[in-house]
Amino acid sequence: MTKLTESQAHDTGDIEAEERAIKQLSQSEQLPKVKIGGFPCSSETIAGSPAESSTSKDRRSQDHHHSSILATSTSSPIEPRTPVLTLEEPTPTLVPVQDAELTKGQIDPTPATTDHNESPSSLRPSSASRTNSRPTVVSRKQSLVTASNAPIIKSLLDSDVPLSAGLTAPSEYTGGPGAFSASMLHRKIWVRRPNASATLVQIREDDLVDDVRDMILRKYGNSLGKSFDAPDVTLRIYPRDAENKTGDRTLRPDEEMCRTLDAYYPGGQTLNEALLIEVPQRRTPRPSPRAMQHGHVPYYYHHDDTRPLENAQEYFPPMPIVHPSPAALTTHSHESRTSLSHAPPPPHSIAILQTGQLPPLPSPGSTRRGHRPKYPRHNTASPTALHGGPPVPAASARPTTNRPRQDSSASETKHSTTGNPPIPTPPAPEVAVPGRQGSTPPIPHVTSPRLGGKRKKQKAAEGITLPAGLLDGSVPPINVLIVEDNIINLRVLGAFMQRLKVRWQRAMNGKEAVEKWRAGGFHLVLMDIQLPIMNGLEATKEIRRLERVNGIGVFSSGSAEAPNHKLSEARKQGRGLEEEDKLGDSNLFKSPVIIVALTASSLQSDRHEALAAGCNDFLTKPVNFVWLERKVKEWGCMQALIDFDGWRKWKDFAAQSDTTESTSKLSSSFSSTAPRSKAKANASPTSATNPGNTGTANGVGGNPKTSRERMESRRRSIGLSGPPPVLEEQESATPPPESDDRPVTFN
């Protein structure tokens, strides 16, 4: 720019002008605070050749100019902020746009600057050979000032108001250069991480994309800065034109940021045009958890994308079943992230989890990218999985008194789960209750991470396992009921569940769905709406009705508040129940099941109907797997929070089955060690003794199930034998709260 003014001076042959300019410059330098009002004289000198300021050479040597400009700006880093300086830089830019204005009130202090510039000579040649060409100016302008700034400058020039005033309060701010003058060389650009809100990052006019990355890391000091180096970061730009969807691309490190932005967003970059920051997953080499991962990647991208890298470990990975190794899990999620990072991540609806609010919230609309629940899920399932037997009998068999206990200690209840009816020592558990209440709200206890080896010990405390689970972030199995009358859809959904390592069962009509649900243990129901015999809405209503009359609610278990009250209430309700409405073991119904409707039509009315019937959520068919996975995870997380205890248990089992070759062997040994419990289990119709009988259960959960079963029986026996929690070996490893939780005592 300074060059330009110089050239102007030359053009006009007005040496005087040059001198003046120099004078001004010196003035401004000496007295940075000089008011703009003093400049008008210089503007006159320039008048007459405003347009000529640029030369073709200039254009060619733009880069040189750039550097020179930079040099200038750098030479007066802070001082430039004064009003006077501000004026300097913008002027040249304007030239092309409004000659009149420029000529009129324009002052160009820049020449002075130029002179002071260290390398005036190098620039000079260009100015000497200068020819007038506006285009040059234009290009220059781009690099220096955003088009969006033109109005500001114009207004400044036009207004009678002292420039200083105008300068200090630039009203139109579109993300272009932040201020005039030296600082004008700075510019703020919008960037954002996938699904996050945009933020401004300050860069310099001539910054390359590579420099911008540094600034971004500074801005995202925590989430990115700690784990990534600048070269890891890539920026993706999306063309303003929405139709041109394919136009998005990753910026090369050597591109000039501002120029690119101006090219893409003439008029200035807006909030919505924020550049997308992409980072690779962590590079730490880690064992890949699953062989099948490849096929999967596509489905995960969304989750991975949205999840903050730092915390990746805490999140649910895509369901590694029995993989206690934390490293493996993380890797997994990371990988997927990378591969898919380019896709615009869909929003998450997990926000609910954070609030601790429960299920009844329909999440269809909620697409927020949320923070994920810290602890992975659970397993209400585990207990349920055990029951393959006829639900009804179980219900009748179960003593109503049992219900109360859920509140106090989920874990305890769980033990009794399988053998609920049999619970011989009702008083004992009851006693334990008060002490345990504290445990209700699921609290992740971080203790010793590794328990794989320990697991083998029968007496190993489950508390120990818990931490391991938290660390490795493996996803506990969710027990899903797919209600679909069309075998094709069923197979596809089932295959997908399998991929997610989620256990599932199917029901071909609404009636069957209700029956299967009554067996207990489901966390999620994917409910087709239009079904033979009993449609999905009716089935949903029936399930909700049964949940209501049986007092199944979020707080029926695990809630520390007013447990007694609730218990008595539940009890009352239970008494009044029609025999046929009674559900099986209450431990299998820790919370209302999540019902996600599968609607064939996208009609809003259908959705409302589904929600009104008691569905929590819905998906439109054909089901998009990305969404499906998301739903499964989200709701699974929710259930995990509700049944943290169960989740822990699952971890336990997972760890065990992991370290054990043959679960069946174990279970038999267990039964021998715990004859009592076994007998009980047999007595109970819902007993886990027959896992294979769980409908069309797929193979996925088979192993864990048996191991769980074994665990169950073991626990039962233990629980029965000694109510007072006695922590032995694990005591040191477990934080105090844990002990409350520990229903199982090892004698």
């Binding site: 069309n486 075998i487 094709i488 197979r491 033979p532 064939a600 054909p622």
Partner: protein, 138 residues
């Protein structure tokens, strides 16, 4: 498009998410079995439709239309799906979009006949394409 000649008849994204579940891109065991199951399901459904067409059982026709719509949608066979949706609507005494009532059974039957024929044709078309895709020209 991975599938030659499928541009209007198959929704790429939907079908691909099925393909992605194949462990082996050569064998395509899973998707192939699904698709072939669909073939036989469609055949039998069309057969039933013919029967109910004869019996003039609008309700059953509608149900069958819905049924086949579900699976064709899952596979992304858009044309078949659209026709099935029409069958579903006509069977409910509505117009093809399902927004207006069409109390005249005969008219509905007439339209059903046409639509079912159309659906069949579309099914055969897509079947051909898919068989080709699975290297099963026979």
């Amino acid at each position: 498009m991975k599938i030659p000649g499928a541009k209007d008849t198959i929704d790429e994204a939907t079908f691909e998410q099925i393909l992605e579940m194949d462990d082996d891109e050569e064998e395509r065991e899973f998707s192939k079995s699904i698709v072939y199951d669909f073939f036989s399901q469609a055949e039998s459904t069309f057969g039933k439709m013919d029967g109910y067409l004869e019996k003039k059982d609008l309700g059953q026709l509608s149900a069958l239309g819905h049924f086949l719509k579900g699976s064709s949608a899952t596979l992304g066979l858009t044309k078949v799906k659209d026709s099935c949706e029409k069958i579903q609507h006509f069977g409910q005494n509505k117009d093809e979009t399902g927004t207006h009532d069409e109390p005249d059974d005969e008219k509905c039957l007439e339209k059903l006949k046409d639509t079912i024929a159309q659906a069949k044709q579309e099914f055969y078309d897509v079947e051909k394409i898919l068989k080709k895709f699975y290297h099963d020209e026979a």
